[in-house]
């Protein structure tokens, strides 16, 4: 059987490794579609999604110029999303992992969750409650906005998290 490589013996006592630790900087653009989400969030504290002219489905995360399923031009028909819903599912990070956009080990203390919005759209965000023992699937939640206009301008993250509510 000749399908593997020989397992090389160390030839010297020392193997050299060369390190590079230089962040690469980027200027990412939202473009027009995601830009609309940013604008509505910042100016009006509204979360919006485009509606496909054919299947009428809303494409919230992220919006796109083409409906992925119908493969037709999305057009420019925007619908406001309700910002209350129920926790469909949540998870939590136990072990901090390297965040490439921060350049450090980091774990979001707010549990990432899938929220079933009241119009039937599944929306990914995180939860305010960090004590996961207090969380249950099916709990009612509501979006909490960043109230400082100056601090808004981060699109989906202008919503800080979803807060559990009693109804």
């Amino acid at each position: 059987m000749a399908k593997g490589s020989p397992i090389k013996k160390a030839e010297g006592p020392e193997y050299i490794r060369i390190e590079f630790d230089l962040p690469r900087r980027y200027n990412w653009s939202t473009g027009r579609y995601l830009g609309k989400v940013y604008a509505e969030a910042k100016e009006n504290k509204k979360m919006v999604a485009p509606r496909c002219p054919k299947c009428k489905q809303l494409w919230a995360r992220p919006p796109a110029p083409v409906c992925p399923k119908c493969k037709v031009d999305m057009g420019w028909d925007w619908v406001e999303l309700p910002l209350t819903g129920t926790i469909f599912q949540y998870t939590y990070q136990v072990y901090p992992l390297w965040d490439p956009h921060e350049g450090e080990r980091w774990s979001n203390p707010h549990p990432p969750a899938i929220i079933l919005l009241d119009n039937g759209i599944y929306f990914r965000h995180c939860l305010e409650e960090t004590d996961t023992k207090k969380l249950k699937e099916g709990m009612r939640v509501q979006a909490v906005w960043e109230e400082d206009y100056e601090k808004r301008g981060l699109g989906f993250l202008d919503i800080l998290y979803f807060r559990t509510i009693e109804e």
Binding site: K3, G4, S5, P6, W28, Q89, D99, I114, R124
Partner: protein
Amino acid sequence: MAGRVAIVGVGQTRHTSRRDDVNLPEMVGEAVRAALADAQLSIKDIESFIFSNMESFEGLLLPDHGMITEVGAAGKPGLKVTGGGTTGSEAVGEACNLVSAGLFDITMVVSWQKHDCGDATAGISAAAVPIAAKGLVVGAVSEFAKQALSYINQSGATEEHAAMVRLKADRCACRNPYAHLRLGLKGLEDYLKSGYLVWPIRMLDFCPQSCGACVVVLASEERAKKIHKKPVWVVDFEVAHQEPFSAGSFGDPTGTETYSQDVAAERLYKRNGITDVRKQVDLAEIYEPSTWEEMSLYEHFHFCEKNEGWKLIEKGVTEIEGEFPVNPSGGVIASNPIGATPVIRIAEAALQIRGDAGEHQATRDVKTAIATALGGPNWTAMFLLKRSL
């Protein structure tokens, strides 16, 4: 396809967490030499190359360019494909197209990942541009955690079943000298000792970050018959991509969406007259990033009915000695050099068909096998391989 294509040589490195004794090009060169030896060809016989890896993990631009000498591609045609975890399959697919189209008689697929260069989880997190999803996507782990939760809810599988998948993989890996994690796990207790990465995914539920390379040599029908006594025929392949789901990146936890796996499997089986997979196919090498995903994939690839994947594990159907062995190599939970992982599935399936898998040769005779890949936001690639045409 216009012309038939066969696998006439496979080679891989041992897979491991770190390779200091070789640089990246040398590591890949090892697999090239192994594949040439297997095919009993010289590098001069190779007419063109297709390279495959995921570029971000090693932090390189044009990673193929740095290894041209070490893989023997100087002065030869070729190019690099990239993509998600399925990139290796797509590379083999493109190599098949080149041969099938009559552009080349012999083409080599060179695939690798050297994860000790960087951090794969961070690399996967960088698949989300921060402008759209900063901090909300954490590697593949959090996505497969969602998948696990949904699977538990929908199918009634328990942690014991995940443990059984892990133990099966480890038993197989221990028989495969090239596998990365060969842990010698003794039982459920060992599994339960493993800590959570992202609940409910334990360290032992999830694939490692491996350094390794895998190479396959593909040839036209006429040449294949001359090159190898046991050519393995690439009968068909299928790729289905999918945009990220609104609720999850690697799966749809809501259970309301069609999966690319179902679509790819249906198309492949239909074209090839496969109505009962476990009767008509003898073995599968699948790309299972987590234990829970393996059980789910059994269902999406139609090895069993919906929500019954865990029963296959419970009954030992997919064991190496079982009726329908799945991943006798130890699979992806044991070794995961991502860019090479789909190619390893294809190479391992080919070895099983040839009867050359050595210690981890399946008990039953393998005439037909499928090899799959998973990547991106739930992309699927499937290959159907056979001993005879």
